[in-house]
């Protein structure tokens, strides 16, 4: 199962559309009134709950004019948050990319008992509340935590600093790359790799010359979603960050702080950057899904 976005790939509905519009007196069609009612309800629901919140972000951000918007973004605190967010995202994506490739190779290319259970364990962070994802690291590294005294004795700071924020983010983004790759690599099977080995290629040659080119879009897909979540994570990071101004505030945390200080333009300006990230992610996701479908083997 998958609790996060992402792993639920948007299905392509276009194929059936032609057949459907062609048949007027289709036994599979509802009365016109019902049809219009359903469409209106669906569009109305999505407009109110999805479109309006998106629009309001940009309207609020530009509410006092473009100059106010850009001066809000030029604030040193904003810059520090952007830098921290990019750094945390880079670390999370990097580590989870390596992990995801390793996990997908082991799970998709080999048979071993307990495989389903292992996948469930990898999925676990998706079903843990973000706040709890942060809490577990507080319990490990906090002043009263398991390693707290030891860390203090050695003057090491994990909580309320970059390492803690990175750890919490790695936790919540843990499954993304692996989950994007496992089904794709399972579908592709092992024949091309077997062919490469029987032609004399080494393990690394096989991986880099045969496997990786076949899954490159899947890798990008996983990285894209992992990155979006890493940059946008709020709950887990909020618990471990300590909210040190100009130091441990990521962009989402800064949105909260500015909002609570009634600095609406500044808060929504940062929010608008994150909203744009989300929109770009969705567009890229749609494009990548099409490419991944091309990498899926077809019977012919």
């Amino acid at each position: 199962m998958s609790i996060e976005m992402t792993l639920q790939r948007t299905p392509d509905t276009s194929a059936r559309s032609l057949a459907e519009s062609a048949a007027r007196r289709d036994p599979r069609a509802e009365p016109t009134v019902v049809r219009y009612a359903i469409i209106t309800l669906a569009v109305g629901f999505l407009s109110i709950f999805v479109v309006l919140p998106l629009v309001v972000v940009f309207v609020e951000a530009f509410g006092k004019g473009i100059a106010a918007y850009f001066s809000a973004l030029a604030d040193p605190e904003a810059w520090s948050a952007i830098r921290l967010t990019l750094g945390v995202a880079a670390v999370s994506v990097g580590t989870n990319l390596v992990f995801g490739l390793a996990a997908a190779w082991a799970i998709a290319k080999f048979d071993f008992p307990g495989k389903t259970f292992l996948i469930t364990l990898i999925d676990l962070p998706f079903s843990v509340s973000p706040v709890i994802s942060g809490l577990v690291f507080v319990l490990l590294f906090g002043a009263q935590g398991f390693f707290g005294p030891w860390l203090q004795a050695h003057d090491l700071q994990i909580l309320f600093a970059f390492p803690g924020i990175a750890l919490a983010t790695i936790f919540v983004t843990f499954p993304f790359v692996a989950r994007a790759l496992i089904p794709l690599m399972q579908e592709q099977g092992t024949q091309e790799e077997e062919a490469a080995i029987s032609l004399g290629a080494s393990g690394l040659q096989t991986f880099f010359r045969v496997t990786l080119p076949n899954i490159k879009w899947g890798v990008l897909y996983g990285v894209l979603l992992c990155n979006a979540r890493a940059m946008g994570e709020f709950g887990a990071v909020s618990v471990v960050s300590g909210h040190v101004r100009g130091e441990t505030n990521t962009m989402p945390l800064l949105v909260e702080i500015l909002y609570n200080e009634y600095q609406m333009v500044a808060s929504f300006a940062i929010a608008s950057l994150l909203a744009m990230l989300a929109l770009i992610t969705l567009i890229a996701k749609t494009i990548l899904e099409r490419n991944i479908d091309g990498d899926m083997p077809h019977d012919d």
């Binding site: 996060e4 992402t6 948007t10 509905t13 559309s17 459907e20 036994p27 599979r28 359903i38 469409i39 309800l41 669906a42 569009v43 999505l46 709950f49 999805v50 919140p53 998106l54 309001v56 390596v98 992990f99 390793a102 996990a103 082991a106 799970i107 290319k109 080999f110 071993f112 469930t120 364990l121 990898i122 676990l124 079903s127 509340s129 973000p130 709890i132 809490l135 577990v136 690291f137 507080v138 319990l139 906090g142 009263q144 936790f171 790799e193 080995i197 979006a228 946008g232 709020f234 709950g235 909020s238 949105v255 909260e256 929504f268 994150l274 909203a275 990230l277 989300a278 969705l282 996701k285």
Partner: protein, 277 residues
Amino acid sequence: MSVLAPRRSTLPGFGLTMGLTLTWLSLIVLIPLAGLFVRSTDLSLVQFWDIVTSRRTLSALKISFGLSFAAACVNLVMGTIVVWALVRYRFPGRRLFDAIVDVPFALPTAVAGVALTALFAQKGWLGAPLAAAGIKVAFTPLGIFIAMIFIGIPFVVRTVQPVLIDLDPEIEEAAASLGASRWHIVTKVILPSLTPALLTGFALAFARAVGEYGSVIFIAGNLPNVSEIAPLLIVIRLSEFRYADATAIAVVMLVVAFVIIFAVNRLQRWAQAQAST
């Protein structure tokens, strides 16, 4: 080689990648989560019970679980309608609406939180007309409910959509040729085949709403016993250095989340078994 290793295999790297996977999984996920449960054993059963059944905790859990359930119900109904419209009908902007279903997944929760609050605040675009009608949304439990609906939208839609697309048209045609009315076909033929996916989507939306933090706290009002959700109470307890309280609440929430995963897994296996017969 470990017990897990397959018989000697053509492809190399199993030991290395499996080792890396298990190590990393343990360090990042399993040990920290286990730490939470170990920590909770510091409490006696009585202490644990007292924390969990204290008025404020109990209210927070009731609010989180109750409103999540209600929101998941709304998502179940509205999600079905949205899926039906997206899959079965052509209308202008259909592809766009199909794409924006994923917005609640992609939008950082804090952004969703401030946006929903701005929208439903008393002077907001939707808040103002609602206030005129005597309905207050922001800073009430109703606000929490709205935020939970927002983040749950994609789950039902995205789990049911592929199933509805793959539904064999011949089944409906056969039912129609046997004289069934459209209403009968939809309720007796189509909906039953969607049931496993609908339940899965419902469970996923529910689980997500229970744990949700960012998009809820801005609009919630956060009044103890009235509009304070369980994840927020964990954060508050942590800031008061009452680690034991935070841990106890977290354990309750985690156990419920695991039960839901287990149920969903069983549900999907059951659905697969049904589909293969």
